[in-house]
């Protein structure tokens, strides 16, 4: 159950973005990627998740639980994404956002509803099923988005500066909430961040991407 990057490199128009990267992330480990702006941190996440823009080329291998990911479309990779913003679907209620994520393996109307209600409760959002996502506070939205990702039963999770838009007090709370759930479910996670405090709290491998040929 681990996410393995094997000499992964990205290039744009023949120019490598960063030196080839090899990394094994164990279940429940949260690895961090740091580096200067524009080095391609988010592009690396796009490549792993299956959203790489056609202008980029990728070399190396990415495997998850031994499955090679490159040939799979994004929806078949079982990799969850957490963005800087929560990106809840604006046309669905909070509960329906979670239901959208909930794995198909949970069947039956009552069972699915119970799973969503349980997740809402874990996120401190009990009774919020029918609420408009736009009416939630920033912290509530972040927790709902994480729960939506976890309900899809992902084999790995990618986090793109997940806490950078939260103010300091909220940041610690959401970070603790997110990491606790990842560790409890033994999900390997890769997080891009600018904040050294994120890396320290994650406690996993910390990679710093550098532009090749410089420093």
């Amino acid at each position: 159950m681990s996410l393995v990057l094997d000499t992964v490199a990205l290039s744009l128009g023949g120019h490598a973005l960063f030196a080839p990267l090899s990394l094994t992330i164990a279940p429940g480990e949260i690895a961090t990627v740091m580096g200067p702006s524009g080095v391609g941190k988010s592009t690396l996440l796009d490549a792993i998740a299956g959203h790489l823009a056609p202008a980029f080329t990728m070399s190396g291998r990415v495997t998850l639980d031994g499955r090679e990911l490159r040939a799979l479309p994004a929806e078949a990779r079982r990799i969850g994404l957490v963005f800087q913003d929560p990106v809840l679907f604006p046309h669905l209620s909070v509960g329906d956002n979670l239901a959208f994520g909930l794995s198909r393996r949970v069947t039956g109307r009552a069972a699915r509803r119970a799973a969503v209600d349980a997740a809402l409760e874990q996120a401190g959002l009990a009774g919020f099923y029918h609420r408009d996502p736009a009416s939630l506070s920033g912290g509530q939205r972040s927790r709902a988005a994480l729960m939506r990702s976890l309900l899809a039963d992902p084999s790995a999770l990618l986090l793109d500066e997940p806490f950078s838009k939260l103010d300091t007090g909220l940041r610690d709370e959401i970070r603790a909430f997110t990491f606790a759930h990842l560790r409890e479910r033994a999900i390997p996670a890769l997080m891009v961040t600018h904040d050294p405090a994120d890396a320290a709290a994650a406690g996993g491998a910390a990679i710093s991407l550098e532009v090749p040929g410089r420093g």
């Binding site: 998740a49 299956g50 959203h51 823009a53 056609p54 479309p73 994004a74 929806e75 078949a76 079982r78 990799i79 969850g80 994404l81 963005f83 913003d85 990106v87 809840l88 679907f89 604006p90 046309h91 669905l92 209620s93 959208f100 994520g101 794995s103 198909r104 408009d132 996502p133 736009a134 009416s135 939506r148 990702s149 899809a152 992902p154």
Partner: protein, 569 residues
């Protein structure tokens, strides 16, 4: 990547449908018209190629005047609409004002050309509203004996075209402005001592022009080849070229089809020459404008001029709204002697007495609108989704392809297209008219939907994919619902365009399909304004109801979804 292959396949399928369904018929129609223009029309026994049709065309009485009036009204209305639209846009202070203006424009955008022209005739005519209001002031006892509608120079037609096209260009400008950092550039220019109007002319307009060049050409092509507006507001002897040609095409003497086809080609040449003129003017202004900008004049004096032009534009738009009101008032009037400003007695008799013809025309218009809009919307969504999946932007040629049906004068290929449909056994049926109308509905639906579709937050789709949703589930459960409002707006535009179609219904319906528009145009030359008012009111009301539904439905469906309010772009 399979999604990309999937996307390219979808895009290929859409292009094939477009090639066979839209581009093919236009080319075939043009080719058949061109053959007839040089004497080849076996259907009427003319099999000898030659220049005789051209000689007949040139020998038509008043043909030179027709061309002159066509150029005056087409070029004049386009230049005037563009000037007014730019002046009005420059006068709108902020995004809020621009949003409000876009909403105020809706009725004038929705109203079909023919309905607006009929209403305008009711207002401008010697016995119309303006003369009635002025009569007591000027001491007139009878309607003034001057040709205020159908004047030989086509001033009334020019006015009507300007009123109809200014809102369209204004909307195009407002939507293009979202791509320009307007506020910062205005601030930067004003901090250097330039007046607001000067910043607009020197900084904003040059950036705006490439974004609105195609819409301006659509307006120009329409202005040079309008038939329904030309019939109602234009001069009659001789009429504008497209009206003269329509008369020839429908003349009982089938030999007239040959010079008519030659005229149709001449119409294409006229439009192409006008496009050339636009590009030459663009080049000239670029040179002169650069010199003007380098001189560094702060242009504080042009502020007043800009305000006056904008006020003129707003007055003209108000005249348009008055024209729409005139339709309803006439349809409800019973006794309305001259020079009373309002009817002496009101009645619903014109509505109730219109007979089953009105219901049939309404049903035909409605059915054609629903069919053409659904077809166009499905094609547009397939195209845009194909672009998304293939992760491809739009190539310039594809953009040109979308605009093509709006740039070629309708009269140039509709006759040829009908010949083709006759051979295929389609002519005169609903299928053929739906096909022909869709040629013009699809481009507008596509143009309306493209920007909001591309403005959709791509992370929504990615979030859905990371939750395991495949491309079809992403389309139907995330993209389409979030885009509900722009999709319905595009549908409303499609309905308005379909309802307004006159020439395609006339040519391809072979006179057998009567819609509100064909009936209203026919009635406009008849004497009873009340009956004409009924048809034209309904003709204007149908698209307006469409716009109303496009506003109401998303507001209802998404009433508890604050994140989607104001998401309309």
């Amino acid at each position: 990547m399979s999604a990309a292959r999937d996307g390219r396949a979808l895009r290929g399928a859409v292009l094939a449908v477009l090639g066979i369904g839209v581009i093919g018929p236009i080319i075939a129609g043009l080719a058949l018209t061109a053959r007839a223009a040089f004497g080849l029309l076996p259907a009427i026994g003319s099999t000898e190629a030659g220049l005789a049709p051209w000689a007949q065309l040139l020998a038509l009485p008043g043909i030179a005047t027709s061309v002159k009036v066509t150029l005056f009204t087409g070029l004049g209305s386009t230049a005037l609409s563009l000037t007014l639209a730019l002046a009005i846009a420059a006068g709108l202070r902020d995004r809020l004002a621009r949003g409000g203006a876009a909403r105020l424009l809706t009725p004038l955008l929705a109203v079909p050309h023919a309905a607006l022209a009929i209403g305008l005739a009711f207002v401008l005519a010697p016995s119309g509203w303006i003369a009635r209001v002025l009569a007591p002031l000027l001491g007139l006892v009878r309607p003034p004996d001057i040709a205020l509608v159908g004047d030989p120079w086509g001033v009334a037609l020019l006015l009507g075209l300007t009123i109809k096209e200014t809102p369209f260009l204004l909307l195009m400008i407002l939507s293009a402005l979202t791509q320009i950092p307007l506020r910062q550039q205005l601030a930067a220019g004003q901090s250097l001592g330039y007046g607001r109007a000067a910043v607009w002319l020197k900084i904003i307009v040059p950036q705006l022009w490439p974004l609105i060049r195609l819409p301006v050409m659509v307006v120009l092509a329409y202005g040079l080849s309008t038939v329904d507006m030309g019939l109602i507001l234009g001069p009659s002897t001789p009429p504008v070229l497209a009206v003269a040609l329509t008369r020839l095409f429908f003349s009982p003497d089938t030999a007239a089809l040959l010079p008519a086809s030659a005229g149709a080609l001449a119409q294409v040449a006229l439009v192409l020459a006008a496009f050339g003129l636009v590009l030459a003017t663009e080049r000239a202004i670029r040179g002169l404008g650069l010199a003007w900008i380098r001189r560094g004049g702060r242009g504080r004096g042009i502020a007043l001029a800009a305000r006056i032009v904008a006020a003129g534009g707003r007055a003209l738009l108000a005249l348009g709204l008055l024209a729409m009101l005139a339709l309803v008032v006439w349809s409800l009037a019973w006794r309305w002697p001259w020079p009373a400003a309002l009817p002496q007695s009101w009645s619903l008799k014109a509505w109730t007495g219109a007979g089953p013809g009105l219901g049939r025309a309404l049903a035909a218009s409605l059915w054609l609108a629903v069919a053409t809009t659904s077809l166009s919307l499905a094609l547009a969504i397939a195209w845009l989704e194909g672009e998304d999946r293939a992760r491809l932007g739009r190539a310039g040629w594809a953009q040109g392809l979308i605009y093509l049906p709006l740039l070629v004068p309708q009269i140039a290929f509709l006759y040829g297209l009908n010949v083709l449909f006759l051979r295929l056994g389609l002519s005169g049926g609903y299928a053929a008219v739906i096909w022909a109308q869709s040629l013009f509905v699809f481009p507008y639906v596509m143009i309306a939907l493209s920007d909001p579709w591309r403005a959709l937050d791509p992370r929504l789709s990615r979030a859905a994919a990371s939750l395991g949703a495949g491309p079809w589930r992403r389309l139907f459960t995330v993209k389409l619902p979030v885009l509900l409002m722009p999709i319905l707006t595009a549908a409303a535009i499609g309905v308005a365009v379909s309802v307004a179609q006159y020439l395609p219904t006339l040519f391809i319906g072979a006179g057998r399909i009567a819609t509100l528009t064909t009936e209203a145009v026919t009635l406009s030359s008849a004497s009873d304004r009340r009956v004409t008012g009924v048809y034209a009111s309904l003709q204007a009301g149908l698209p307006l109801a469409g716009y109303g539904a496009a506003l109401m439905i998303p507001a209802l469906v998404h009433r508890n979804r604050r994140g989607l309010k104001g998401a309309r772009s």
